[in-house]
């Protein structure tokens, strides 16, 4: 590498039978560094790099700042909110808010209830959406387009539009008048027998609702059934989006894969379960992550279907615990901080989950080969 050693001609040395080594003329290190770092190209690259970094850090800051304020506020004692010198770092460190929410707002009960609801609906939604999307992506049948249009239709109509009729339909749940007919005929439907579901009674506190027969049908409000039924049908929140995403993903899976399985005598459903599903795990995790966290923080459906205070779900714990009510100058800020603390406690499990799953989120989306046709 030293300048003295450089010869004018590139030397060719034969190292072994079919290997040669060529020593080229190299300009001195200083020259090379100059050429590399003092060019306009390099300058442009550095400037772009800095701009990009500043932009990304700035936007990350915008995303994260509300979480910082929430966390900072959650550790403050009431007197910190009237102290002008206190901004982000609490002076009187206290855990009162967490304690009060934990004990007075039934956090643990809300957690287990919501966990059961979110896990069950998210799992059902993931699998149902996979099924439907696979059917739409890989099979040509009459009405395929119509079914896909129906999926988009169910995505486009906001559920707020259907608020009232959703409530009414599940309050007086009936499919084609079958339940009303059976009830009128004095026939007891087996699955309404609560002894069958005794094991889950602890988890589903309001299972007795099945017994409440009305002339119009079953009363399903205040149970988990409305959300579970909607998940089974792929009609729950944003399921149209999941079906769309998964459909695009399955279209990218080469047909030859299934064809070879069919030739080996595997049935369609067997092929789907043993070959296609294992392939699409990152995508399924993505969908599960969406479904789970959107159900976890959802307040529209839980507010709609859970009208009594009996079943405590996560959104219901947002409020001011009675032991923390007070009346002083910083009340507004203090109450806001309490609500924020409730928010932190709600999303804490989600954050933990996100830390583990975020790599699949990007992977799943990237591999989807999403195209818009």
């Amino acid at each position: 590498m030293n300048a003295q050693n450089i010869e004018k001609k590139p030397t060719v040395r034969k190292e072994s039978k079919n290997k040669i080594k060529v020593d080229f003329d190299r300009s001195p290190l200083k020259e090379r560094l100059k050429a590399k770092f003092l060019s306009l190209f390099f300058l442009k690259k550095v400037i772009w790099y800095i701009i990009r970094l500043v932009l990304l850090i700035g936007i990350s800051y915008i995303v994260l700042f509300p979480f910082f304020t929430k966390i900072a506020g959650s550790f403050m004692a009431p007197e910190d909110f009237v102290d002008v010198t206190v901004r982000l770092i609490p002076k009187h460190f206290s855990l009162d808010m967490y304690k009060a929410i934990w004990t007075e707002q039934n956090y643990l009960q809300a957690f287990t209830n919501t966990l059961f609801l979110s896990v069950s609906t998210a799992l059902i939604q993931t699998f149902v959406c996979c099924f439907v999307a696979y059917g739409l992506a890989k099979f040509k049948f009459k009405g395929n387009k119509f079914v896909f249009l129906a999926v988009i239709f169910s995505l486009v109509i906001p559920h707020q539009t259907l608020q009232l009729s959703l409530f009414m339909n599940f309050r007086y749940f009936d499919i084609l008048g079958i339940f009303g007919f059976l009830d009128g005929g004095g026939i007891k439907i087996p699955f309404t027998d609560i002894t069958l579901l005794e094991g889950v009674v602890d988890i589903i506190p309001e299972i007795e609702a099945f017994e409440k027969w009305t002339a119009q049908g079953l009363t399903l409000t205040n149970t988990y059934w409305p959300l579970i039924i909607m998940s089974i049908c792929g009609l729950a929140f944003k399921n149209g989006l999941y079906i769309f995403m998964l459909r695009q993903f399955f279209r990218g899976v080469p047909d030859e894969l299934e064809e070879s399985a069919y030739i080996d005598g595997s049935g369609t459903i067997h092929t789907f379960l043993t070959i296609i599903l294992p392939l699409s795990v990152p995508m399924m995790i993505t969908v599960f992550l969406f479904a789970f966290s959107w159900q976890w923080t959802d307040d529209f459906y839980t507010g709609l279907f859970f009208t009594t205070t009996k079943t405590v779900l996560m959104p219901k714990i947002v409020g001011i615990p009675t032991s923390l009510t007070n009346d002083y100058a910083g009340q507004n800020l203090y109450y806001s901080a309490i609500r924020n603390t409730c928010g932190i406690m709600i999303i804490a499990p989600l954050i933990v989950m996100y830390l583990f799953c975020q790599k699949y989120l990007v992977q799943g989306i990237e591999r989807s080969g999403l195209t818009a046709d």
């Binding site: 990009r52 506020g73 989120l361 046709d373």
Partner: protein
């Protein structure tokens, strides 16, 4: 004779053509959705439309009674209710303004996050946080969050001036000065100012769009970029001549998704108004009528957006 028939029936089934068998399998796969759609969803939609022409009276015994009301609900929403039309107009106007902002921002971020650099995974993870965490109940907590404003405000609320200017990232003056040399209208300046001050909102709402754009960018073949690089194209040219046309189908998808998303979120002013009406009204189905009117208008907007976008969309299809 009977045995003969029994043998024949499965035989015919086996001999069904591959297409037919595949079609049958397809129906089996989509069956949960189709059944649910027909048995649960359509009745709900039908009822919702029907209710908007009725008033509901809840009976003491636990049932309900429908009293036909004709177009009364619609009439009341449009002509009697003092706020609905105004809310509707502002809501739709906001939405029209938001769509380009969200699209431009999410495309920009997707292009940034698609480049190779140190810490890309971390930035991606941070930017997708709002998709997961800022929905539902968090959104409603955020909407009445005074704490965040207070902490952000460096000069403090009690600084004597009585107003906090620091919470706005840029003021209109700065941007105006920047635009002075350029011959752009006041409208555009205001638009940019609003966009920058609402950056938090925009970041929050463009998570899914970013993901979709990112997926689209990933599906562009690197060979195309290599060949234009060899031909000496600058990055600016590469973006407009290669990336933009190739990503244009995604722009259509995202535009439609943004419209749907922004008019179904709880933070939407019209939706808030409709929910309030739903909670207030006793057996009054005004909210259904309002929601359907709003939905029809939004459907028209989606049609226009899809029409405009699809005129510019470039499909790379050779098969």
């Amino acid at each position: 004779m009977t045995t003969d028939v029994k043998i024949k029936a499965p035989k015919r089934k086996k001999n069904a053509s591959l297409d037919k068998r595949k079609a049958r399998a397809g129906w089996i796969f989509v069956m949960p959705f189709v059944l649910g759609f027909i048995l649960v969803y359509l009745p709900v939609v039908y009822d919702s439309i029907r209710y908007s022409f009725y008033t509901i009276k809840v009976l003491a015994g636990g049932g309900f009674e429908l009293i036909p009301a004709g177009w009364n609900n619609y009439h009341e929403a449009l002509f009697v209710n003092p706020d609905f039309v105004e809310t509707l107009v502002t809501g739709i106007w906001d939405m029209i303004l938001d769509i380009p902002m969200i699209l431009i921002f999410s495309l920009f971020m997707a292009v940034l996050l698609n480049q190779k650099m140190a810490g890309r995974a971390v930035f991606r993870a941070i930017l997708f946080i709002p998709v997961i965490l800022s929905t539902g109940i968090m959104e409603s907590i955020e909407s009445q969050n005074v704490l965040s404003d207070y902490m952000e405000d460096a000069s403090g609320i009690e600084d004597g001036s009585g107003q906090s200017t620091a919470s706005e990232i840029v003021s209109a003056m700065d941007v105006e000065q920047m635009f002075q040399g350029m011959a752009v209208g006041q409208g555009l300046v205001d638009y940019v100012v609003v966009a920058i001050n609402n950056i938090y909102d925009i970041v929050n709402r463009s998570g899914v769009q970013m993901l979709i754009f990112l997926a689209g960018l990933q599906s562009i073949s690197p060979a195309i970029y290599e060949s234009v690089q060899i031909d000496g194209a600058t990055s600016w040219e590469t973006f407009w001549k290669i990336t933009f046309p190739m990503i244009s189908p995604m722009i259509l998808v995202n535009a439609v998704y943004t419209v749907i998303d922004s008019f179904t979120t709880d933070s939407n002013v019209v939706m808030k108004f409709i929910s309030n009406t739903y909670q207030e009204a006793n057996g009054n189905v005004l909210s259904s009528a309002m929601a359907w009117m709003y939905f029809l208008i939004v459907l028209a907007i989606i049609a226009v957006v899809a029409g405009v976008c699809s005129a510019f969309v470039f499909y790379q299809r050779r098969d």
